[in-house]
């Protein structure tokens, strides 16, 4: 506990080695401060593990274990079972990045949920493999530049869509699954607190900006995460037993450009010699921005974040062909790709 502030537990204490402006460090600080030191934390391999346990020096003031990349949910299953076998109901929390959740860790997470373990799984979603130097994950949004989805003569960044992991998880007869982000602390706090009152598997996906990987100024992490919500790209929602039970409604929708243009990972979409919708120049960038807008609109419609209808084809926006660019509404450009 922090002597200056009895409401802070400092489970994740100062002196760790996160980059300045790290959204994951912020989110982990919020989550672990809310849960406290009377819990057991299981960490997947990733930035959070690396910057908090560098060279056998730990920033954790709660019991903490890391095994390998893919198995955090399974290790936590074992920890939880061991505690419950002794009648100990100490909370068990998993912390993982999007790689450890959407990709390599998904099977263990699915098993953990299917078996009904009493565990809160927190995914700090920074939308790529940041620890290894910004490689694409299945959480990376469409059209993003990463080192393994680079824009080039034949590419506008990541071809495929961000995996809708929340729906996958909610389809597991899941008592509680929610999204949150660092810009909306009170929302995040309410969700953590609610999650901690529910027994069984629970899931929190927290959008955590990464100044390094998203290529934005370190001072903008909170602003960027707010814009992700306000554009509709990252809806803040709660699902209980598979049903949407609450959403954070938007007073008005911000255009996705407001979000995209702050981040170098989308910069190639704006590097057009011409933004006109022609088959020449870098019209593809403009087209991808429209596609991202359509994806935001689709999410807004799906979760009813706004009452009004939008002008984009939100049905086709969620369809990406194996080869080919996607389903944004327009002009027959798909045929060229």
């Amino acid at each position: 506990m922090d002597k200056r502030d009895p409401y802070r537990h400092n489970v994740l204490t100062s002196g760790h080695r996160a980059c300045s402006g790290c959204g994951e460090a912020m989110a982990a600080r919020m989550v672990t401060d809310l849960i406290g030191a009377n819990a057991i934390y299981v960490n997947a391999t990733g930035c959070l593990q690396v910057f908090t346990t560098h060279n056998q020096q730990s920033s954790w003031q709660a019991p903490w274990i890391h095994s390998v990349f893919a198995n955090a949910a399974a290790v936590a299953s074992g920890v939880e079972a061991a505690l419950r076998a002794r009648g100990d109901d100490t909370p068990v929390i998993v912390q993982a990045g999007d790689g450890g959740t959407f990709d390599i860790g998904l099977q263990c997470l699915s098993g953990m949920i299917e078996r009904g373990h009493d565990i809160l799984f927190v995914c700090y979603d920074n939308e790529a493999y940041m620890n290894t130097g910004v490689q694409r994950s299945s959480s990376t949004p469409h059209a993003v530049r990463t080192t393994t989805s680079p824009p080039g003569r034949l590419s506008e960044g990541k071809h495929h869509l961000k995996k809708d992991v929340l729906s996958i998880i909610a389809a597991h007869h899941m008592p509680y699954a929610a999204t949150a982000t660092v810009a909306f602390f009170h929302d995040l706090k309410a969700k953590v607190e609610k999650a901690m009152t529910i027994k069984g598997p629970r899931f929190l996906q927290i959008l955590s900006p990464c100044p390094l990987g998203w290529d934005h100024d370190a001072s903008l992490s909170v602003s960027v995460s707010r814009l992700a919500v306000e554009t509709g790209l990252f809806p803040l929602v709660e699902l209980e037993n598979g049903e949407v039970t609450s959403v954070m409604r938007l007073k008005q929708q911000r255009p996705v450009q407001d979000y995209l243009k702050l981040q170098g990972r989308f910069k190639h979409l704006f590097n057009s010699t011409s933004t006109a919708e022609t088959a020449t120049g870098n019209a593809n960038g403009a087209a991808e921005i429209r596609h991202l807008q359509a994806l935001a609109d689709a999410r807004i419609r799906r979760y009813e974040l706004l009452q009004a209808e939008t002008e984009w084809d939100t049905v086709r926006a969620s369809q990406v062909q194996r080869h080919g660019r996607g389903g944004y509404r327009n002009t027959g450009q798909e045929a060229a790709s």
Binding site: A37, N38, A39, I40, V42, N43, Q49, V50, T53, H54, N55, Q56, Q57, S58, W60, Q61, A62, P63, W64, I65, H66, S67, V68, A70, N71, A74, V75, A76, S77, G78, V79, E80, A81, A82, L83, R84, A85, R86, T90, Q107, C108, S110, G111, E114, R115
Partner: protein
């Protein structure tokens, strides 16, 4: 009292006597009967444990890792592909010095896919940092599992009890199952110093850098080498309790023979018969079985093998591109102490091929005539010297 039990049932009975609180497993032939028996014991209320159906062997290993770190005794079992799928976690369990006990129901590895017994699965894991005990019989499997828990918990090292699939797991033999009170006297309640606990928080599995990784690895190696003494001491203790004694190696006329065969696992049963028959013919021959393969019992190997004139290693695994694994290690151990004996290296019984008595006898006769030594020769090949085409 002796009971006629299938090997898997006997193994499950032994596990039950050790009072694990968590059993996590994923089915794979020929391990399945072990975990089915345990699941039934849990379902019937005969074993006060949680049976966790893992979604893969990778998860099963991870669950027992977490269970032990969370302060409970745990058990898992697997074989073949399942063991290979666990690989990353097995190294991790050993590196974190967690006292996990598992049974490997030894089976060939793919490709070609084959469900029958050899040692290629567990031999592949020989460098993972686990203690490995290879058993000859179902009785020894029972006794070794009970000892394994105490060894693991004293050494803070994981133990893999390697039991030949089908040859042992699916074979009915009379087995003496110890009384619960005997096992309770022998095996104290589970205690793990670094249990995850909010009142004394540990960080387990943190990062390390070039300036301390090497030291941590050296500690692990030292613990494994020291485990030789622990295994012997615990074996002696167990003998007092049950009258059944197990050493690091199991000798059958090895110390007084000119030619000594070296084997692992259930092959020993057949080789004993061959030795009997050869000795009746006046041959000076014996066999040494490595019960403990990791840590390698170098001193015992020197004691039992130094006086031999010829050593014949027959093993059910090989290092692809090199040759016999056990043979190479026996050579290295003896050369280290300046003992230069001709050592033949044979590989046989792969994928469940029967190592017939006549094959073993032929090996002995060929070796006694040969001027050079056999170097990783495959026994019972249908087309000698070439790979058999798949039908």
């Amino acid at each position: 009292m002796k009971k006629l039990l299938e090997g898997s049932r006997a193994i499950a009975e032994a596990v039950k006597l050790c009072r694990p609180q968590i059993v996590a497993a994923y089915p794979i032939t020929p391990q399945t009967h072990i975990i089915e028996n345990l699941a039934q014991m849990v379902a019937d209320g005969d074993l006060a444990a949680e049976f966790i159906n893992a979604e893969s062997e990778f998860a099963a290993a991870s669950i027992v890792l977490g269970a032990v770190a969370g302060g409970s005794r745990a058990f898992t079992a697997t074989a073949s592909q399942g063991l290979l799928l666990m690989t990353e976690v097995l190294y991790n369990i050993a590196g974190m010095r967690l006292p996990v006990v598992m049974v490997c129901a030894n089976r060939a590895v793919s490709a070609p896919i084959n469900i029958f017994s050899d040692h290629q699965d567990s031999m592949t894991m020989r460098d993972a940092g686990w203690i490995q005990l290879y058993v000859e019989s179902n009785q020894e499997a029972v006794d070794s599992i009970i000892q394994a828990y105490r060894i693991a918990e004293v050494c803070e090292l994981p133990v893999m009890v390697c039991v030949d699939g089908f040859f042992l797991t699916h074979t009915f033999e009379p087995v003496e199952i110890p009384e619960q009170t005997q096992v309770d006297d022998f095996l104290p309640p589970f205690h793990f110093e670094r249990t995850l606990n909010p009142s004394n928080p540990f960080t387990l599995g943190g990062g390390s850098e070039p300036d301390n990784y090497l030291e941590i690895r050296a500690q692990q190696q030292a613990a494994l080498i020291d485990a030789v003494n622990v295994i012997q001491a615990i074996g002696a203790d167990y003998a007092k309790l049950t009258g059944r004694a197990y050493e690091l190696v199991d000798s059958y006329f090895a110390e007084q023979a000119d030619t000594v065969l070296v084997v692992l696992g259930s092959t020993m049963g057949a080789v004993r018969e061959v030795i009997d028959s050869l000795r009746e013919q006046g041959q000076s021959v014996g066999v040494l079985r490595l019960r403990c393969f990791r840590p390698l019992p170098a001193q015992a190997l020197v004691e039992y093998l130094s006086a031999a004139k010829r050593i014949i290693v027959i093993e059910k695994a090989f290092s692809a591109g090199a040759g016999g694994i056990v043979a190479a290690e026996v050579r290295a151990v003896l050369q280290q102490v300046g003992v230069l004996i001709p050592i033949d290296s044979y590989i046989g019984g792969l994928g469940g091929r029967d190592l017939k008595l006549t094959i073993i006898e032929d090996v002995f006769h060929q070796s006694s005539l040969a001027k050079s030594t056999a170097d990783g020769v495959f026994l019972d090949l249908k087309q000698p010297g070439t790979a058999t085409k798949q039908e």
